[in-house]
Symmetry: C2
């Protein structure tokens, strides 16, 4: 699994048992989240590249034009054009002519694309589920509470 951080943690002395500072919690929690993310993303069960996975997930949420996808994913229109081309080629995405505007196409998932995306999501969840099974119920309850907080943190 490639990129790790291997940091020297900001010295928290176990002998001096005090509540950690916000900075210490931030550092340790950040590394822990990034380790989880790396584990999922570099898992062997992934059968598609991250940027293509993202596009499938966006199209699962709603059908979009290429320009909309490029804006949401913050890549250039030519890049998105190429990604969409690959997904159409693989039979996961369909282009339908927009009846109101001949310049653009409405992109959406094919049944194959939906199935594939569901399998990939399941693989990611399985990676996590297998690892949570080693915890006690009480520990999982802590992580359940933490999930809500992490989402607030991520939202800024």
């Amino acid at each position: 699994m490639p990129p790790a951080e291997t940091s020297a943690p900001p010295g928290r002395d176990a002998a001096t048992e005090q509540a950690p500072t916000i900075e210490q919690v931030a550092h340790d929690l950040r590394l822990a989240c990034m380790r989880i993310s790396r584990g999922v993303r570099f898992d062997q069960r992934n059968e598609i590249q991250p940027h293509l996975f993202s596009v499938l997930a966006r199209l699962d949420a709603a059908s979009r034009t290429a320009a909309e996808l490029a804006a949401i994913e913050r890549v250039s229109p030519p890049s998105m054009s190429k990604s969409v081309g690959v997904l159409v080629e693989r039979g996961f995405v369909r282009r339908d002519a927009d009846p109101d505007d001949g310049r653009q196409s409405i992109l959406s998932l094919t049944p194959d694309g939906e199935d594939f995306l569901a399998r990939q999501r399941q693989a990611r969840d399985d990676w996590m589920t297998e690892r949570l099974e080693g915890l006690t119920e009480e520990e999982r309850a802590v992580l359940e509470r933490a999930t809500v907080l992490l989402n607030r943190v991520a939202a800024g």
Copy 2:
């Protein structure tokens, strides 16, 4: 911030207030961790690419040869050779001839490299710290406990 997952969560009914299944916790927690990771990695304060950051972090932990770095980072020797070349060019890494084996060089961080790495780590921690400041002390305590658990989860 590019790749999001935008998933449809596996239906947890708020009315039927029961303990979530492991699968539900796994799904929600995985997404939360990946959101945090994305937030950090795509933060504007990053001044170096992830693969170069990783190499600096490895060399901060210990001086290494190019072959060792390639093995640790799981990239090919030519790829690592190029990355090291970039970092040497930028003045962050130094090549010292190995006195015992003329074929290889010992790579280590220069003072500039150490400073730069410290600043980049600080920027990542700052991103997280700023966001934790909005939480109560009790909420931060939950996240502190969660950090330990997440590291166990990541370790498998």
